[in-house]
């Protein structure tokens, strides 16, 4: 753990992410109001002691909505990246291990996927399906695995010629064993680092979709749709856009810092210092 806490940047990444986790888990206890309670008497109130982040156009407490919104951001990030990592690692491992035609087919498929602007692909898919949080997570996951595939494939290709892989192969280790015991564990570092960095971009994509009204549907709150509501009042109710914007920025930054820190931590050469 020493390495994680030694670097102040990594440490702040950990603190940010732990804070977001804490908020997401304890949102019902932390929020002063019901996030969906409409109070016509307190529309568009600026931040004050009773409403930390003011109220929105329907008189709902922005602070409470923000706390509940963190759950969506977190969930979308983790599930979408989980799907992308599993698909990406699987295809990348097969391409990098077997090479030849299989590799060519998988990589050309990756090229095709990459040539489609992801955001518009997601928009198109969402347009056909009912926009719900689960659909969003699945669609983001299904359209963002290509980076992981390329990475795992490249890692496998370079590891393939290492002497310990040759040694295991000469000794008769099966393909499955070679992949699961020798190649995957040694490619884990970049996979984990890109996954954590990928969460950041998934959070951004979800915010973008919700902002366009195709993401999380009202009355459920997410940072993205709070931002959308805010755009109508941006000239006289700055708090509606500022706080969700800041929250997204800080969370994305937190994941990025954590990702960088993990890169150092997962180097096996540091194993002793960790004990």
């Amino acid at each position: 753990m020493k390495i994680l806490t030694q670097n102040p940047l990594t440490l702040s990444g950990i603190i940010i992410i732990s804070l977001v986790l804490f908020i997401a888990v304890f949102a019902p206890w932390l929020s002063p109001y019901d996030p969906n309670y409409i109070d016509i008497h307190s529309i568009l109130l600026p931040p004050s002691v009773s409403h930390f982040m003011g109220t929105d156009g329907l008189g709902r407490d922005v602070f409470s909505r923000m706390l509940y919104g963190s759950r969506i951001s977190l969930l979308v990030g983790i599930v979408a990246v989980g799907i992308a990592t599993v698909i990406g690692t699987f295809l990348g491992a097969i391409a990098g291990f077997y090479r030849g035609y299989i590799d060519s087919i998988i990589m050309r498929f990756v090229d095709i996927m990459l040539s489609i602007p992801t955001f518009f692909l997601i928009l198109a898919v969402i347009a056909f399906l009912t926009p719900s949080i689960w659909n969003i997570m699945i669609v983001i996951g299904l359209t963002s695995w290509m980076g992981v595939t390329r990475l795992v494939r490249a890692e496998f290709l370079s590891l393939r010629n290492r002497e310990y892989i040759l040694a295991a192969e000469a000794m008769g280790a099966s393909d499955y064993r070679l992949i699961s015991k020798h190649l995957l564990p040694n490619s884990l570092t970049p996979i984990i680092v890109t996954s954590v960095l990928g969460i950041a971009s998934a959070v951004l994509t979800e915010s973008g979709l919700s902002f366009l009204g195709l993401g999380v549907q009202a009355p459920q709150s997410s940072w993205g749709n709070i931002l959308t509501d805010g755009k109508e009042y941006i000239q006289f109710a700055w708090w509606l856009s500022l706080f969700p914007g800041l929250a997204i920025l800080i969370t994305v930054l937190g994941y990025n810092l954590l990702g960088e820190g993990l890169r150092d931590l997962l180097d096996p050469k540091n194993k002793n210092q960790r004990k």
Binding site: Y164, A167, K181, N186
Partner: protein, 590 residues
Amino acid sequence: MILSIKGLSVTYQSDDGLIFAVDDIDLSLQEKETLAIVGESGSGKTQSMLSIIGLLPENAQIKGEAFFNNKLLFNQSNNHAEEFRGNEIGMIFQDPMTSLNPYLTIEEQLGLVLKKHLPDEDHGKIILEALNNVKIPDAASKMNQYPHELSGGMRQRVMIASVLMLKPKILIADEPTTALDVTVQAQILALIKDLKDQIDTSIIFITHDLGVVAGISDRVVVMEKGKIVEEGAPEAIYHAPKHPYTQKLIASIPRVDEKNLHHQDAFPNKSIDADNISMEYRIKKGWWSFDTLKAVRNVSCELGQGEILGVVGESGCGKSTLAKSLATMIYPTKGKLKIFGQEANIGNQSLKKITQKEVQMIFQDPVSSMNPRMNIESILSEPLWTHSPNLDKASVREKVISALDRVGLDSSALFRYPHEFSGGQCQRIVIARALMLKPKVIICDEPVSSLDVSIRKQVLELLLTIRKEINASLLFISHDLSVVRQVCDNVMVMYLGQVVEQANVNELFDSPKHPYTKALIAAVPIPDPNIQKQIELKLMEGDPPSPINLPSGCSFADRCAFKNDQCKSEQILTRVDSSLVACIRAREIN
């Protein structure tokens, strides 16, 4: 005195306290002297020289002082080393490929140096002269070539030229021949020997190989763990070393000119029998066309039960491809290969199962031969689990511990990771892994090349004892002829995928028959200044041709001193005494 160093220490701050890379050394260099600094990895030989040219990393702390021609190079508070770098003190490094910028032609590279130090002179002329001085053939056309178009030896010549064209007073050469093949190494050593007499430059030659400097040094300094342990004339150091470390170092060098006394000749049971096998690769040339690379050509060899067969040759001669085919990792494209009496081909998967158990491999770099994320117990037990998955845990651990014990390590190693061991210990663990299944054949691909000289001997002895214990056959691949001489029973010499000579070890080294073998053996430096200084090297010129689109006839003919017109079209295998020689004139020239 052109250089004097007093009380030099180089230290690094680490988590475990201060590390002394160089520990209080005094050193001096006379004008026109060639000084050899000899030591193993971590002895501080490179660190001490980097301090002189001011190229130490920023976190290094220097103590002591150094003077160049009575001018201050550095002391505690001032560091003027940079002002002398290049024009007064030049340095060349081990790997000439990485020392040259791949994007610049030779003329452009060297021009950059001149632009800084001699901006007003005719650069083309200076460069051409410098290239001619290091005996680069056809220097004018080489000026416009890129580094990748030159061979390793030529690149190192270019590096030497780039330093010498500024006429520095000191040339520091850090392992300049270590990355080169033996015959190329001999060419570079001969060049340095010539240069010594022609120019007014003192040379500091850093090396781990006592043989290399025996013939060219005026004085030898031996370093160990940052300290100078012995200093003196080469005759004194080589023949009457005083310090125990020097004695150990000298004793551990295998000699190519000493008979191998424990070799065996006859091995009645054959483990492997290769009959005229070839291995060809197709290399993509364009979208639809291929070139054929012949990595191994018409090789016939036999490996008897308990035999150690040496395979010798320079880089790219097909040694490793041959080894892979004997482990059935690849299959010959022509010819018949029989392993344990069964024919090896892609259809024979039952043989593959057998070889996976009975043929084990040991590679050059022990650290990268082990999965860095597995501990020693998992690494050593892997072969057992693979071949007998039903073993119980306790008996596996017992076997692992006994294997560790056999290679001289104890059970405290079980839960540690490869990077926690030294290179020598790692190679022991790799050997232990190869022994787990009690194989009949062990293929050793340069097993000691990456180890320090003093550790090599122990590892080799370990290999030999173990071979005796389990009566395994060893295929011993090496470019180091001295090691091969002391270890192997029979030897085959390969050149461009072909076996050019095959004989028992003493026959081959005492009376080599093929012109290539002769040149190869003559090029090995002998760690004895009396012998090495007298040897007038008959150098082999040029470089091997590309293995793609080989010329007809004898592929060595272009470089051969004995060639005639017939060699270009014909090549036959002849038996001379007990050696098999692939040379049409073998009988005439011997």
